[in-house]
C-alpha cells in the first residue's frame, strides 16, 4: 500500500517535471519569435504613418473584416505573434472588426499547412475547411463586434 503511494507520487512528480520541461522547451523555442515580433512591430509602427492604416481600413464592416481575414489567412506562425501584432494595430487606430478577422483567420486558416492537411486528411476536406474558415473569420469578427456593441 505504502509502496503504491510512493510509486504514484513518483509518477506524478515525473509527469509534472516533464510538463514543466516541455513548457520550458516550447517557451525557449518561441522566445526569439517573441523578441523578433516585438522588434518588427516596433519598426513597422514607427516607420508606417498612421494615415496608411486609415487608407487600408476604412471603418467599413465588410471591407475591413475581409481585408483583416485575407491578411490573417496568408500569415502563418505562432498565435502569440498575431495577438501582439493585432493589439498594436488596434492601438494605432485600426478597427476592432479588422483586427478580430485578422486574429481569427490567423489561427483557423492554414494556407501554409494546406499541403500537409490535404495529404493526411484529404484534399477536398482541407480545401473546404480552409474556405469556410476564411468566411467564418469575417462572420466571427462581425458577430463579436456587434455583441460587444450591445453590451457596452
Amino acid at each position: 500500500m505504502k509502496q503504491d503511494k510512493y510509486k504514484m507520487k513518483n509518477k506524478i512528480e515525473k509527469n509534472f517535471k516533464q510538463a514543466v520541461l516541455k513548457a520550458g522547451k516550447m517557451f525557449w523555442k518561441t522566445l526569439p519569435l517573441i523578441f523578433g515580433t516585438i522588434l518588427l512591430v516596433s519598426l513597422l509602427i514607427t516607420l508606417i504613418p498612421k494615415t496608411f492604416y486609415f487608407k487600408v481600413f476604412t471603418q467599413n464592416f465588410f471591407s475591413d473584416s475581409f481585408i483583416g481575414s485575407l491578411i490573417g489567412s496568408i500569415s502563418a506562425g505562432n498565435p502569440l505573434t498575431s495577438y501582439i501584432l493585432g493589439g498594436e494595430l488596434l492601438e494605432q487606430g485600426v478597427g476592432l472588426i479588422a483586427v478580430t478577422a485578422f486574429l481569427v483567420a490567423w489561427v483557423t486558416v492554414g494556407v501554409v499547412q494546406l499541403p500537409a492537411e490535404s495529404m493526411i486528411l484529404g484534399r477536398r476536406f482541407a480545401i473546404w475547411r480552409n474556405i469556410l474558415s476564411f468566411v467564418f473569420a469575417i462572420v466571427v469578427a462581425i458577430l463579436t463586434v456587434l455583441i460587444l456593441g450591445v453590451f457596452q
Binding site: L33, I38, T100, L121, L132, V140, F151, Q152
Partner: protein, 170 residues
C-alpha cells in the same frame, strides 16, 4: 550545403530574429534617431507584456500536464452531443503545433470520426487558454469571453457544414 544544414539547425524563429536584427543594424547606420524611436517603442511593449509571459508559461505547463493526445483520444469515444462537447473541449485544450495532431486526427478518421468533428476540433484549437492573459492584456476580458463563445458556436456550424459538404461527394 553546409550553410543550408547550419541554417536548418538554427531554427526558423532564430533566423527570423536575426533578419529583424539586421534591419535594425541597417537602421542604426542610416537613421539613428529613427532607430532610437523603434527601440523606445520596443522597450515600452516589452516592459508592459513581460509579466504576462510568466503567466503564459505557468498555463502552458499546467495544460501540458493534464492534456495529452491519449486524453483526447479517450474522450472522443463518447456518443451524440457529448461527442461534440468533448471534441470542442479537446480542441481548446490541445497544445503544440497543428502538424503534431494530424496523425491522431487521421487515426480518429479511420476509426469513424466524422469530417465535421475533425473540422470542429481544428477550429477550436484557435481558442488558446495559455495565451488568454496576453489577449486580455490587449483586448479586455469581455472581448475574450465574447470572441471565444462566438468561435465555439461557429465551430459547430462549420462542423455541420463540412459533414454536409463531404456527404455530397458520396
Amino acid at each position: 550545403m553546409k550553410i543550408k544544414e547550419k541554417l536548418q539547425s538554427i531554427g526558423n524563429s532564430w533566423i527570423f530574429l536575426i533578419v529583424v536584427l539586421i534591419f535594425y543594424l541597417i537602421l542604426l547606420v542610416v537613421d539613428f534617431s529613427l532607430f532610437q524611436s523603434c527601440l523606445e517603442f520596443f522597450y515600452k511593449i516589452f516592459i508592459s507584456i513581460f509579466p504576462i509571459f510568466v503567466l503564459v508559461f505557468i498555463l502552458m505547463a499546467v495544460t501540458n500536464y493534464f492534456i495529452t493526445p491519449e486524453f483526447i483520444l479517450k474522450h472522443t469515444r463518447e456518443k451524440g452531443i457529448k461527442k461534440w462537447f468533448f471534441i470542442i473541449v479537446g480542441g481548446i485544450l490541445s497544445t503544440g503545433p497543428i502538424y503534431m495532431w494530424y496523425p491522431l486526427l487521421a487515426d480518429l478518421k479511420n476509426k469513424g470520426l466524422s469530417y465535421g468533428l475533425i473540422a470542429c476540433f481544428l477550429y477550436n484549437r484557435a481558442v488558446k487558454i495559455p495565451l488568454i492573459p496576453l489577449m486580455i492584456f490587449y483586448f479586455s476580458i469581455q472581448y475574450v469571453v465574447v470572441l471565444s463563445l462566438v468561435m465555439i458556436f461557429v465551430s459547430v456550424i462549420q462542423g455541420v457544414l463540412i459533414n454536409k459538404l463531404m456527404e455530397v461527394k458520396k
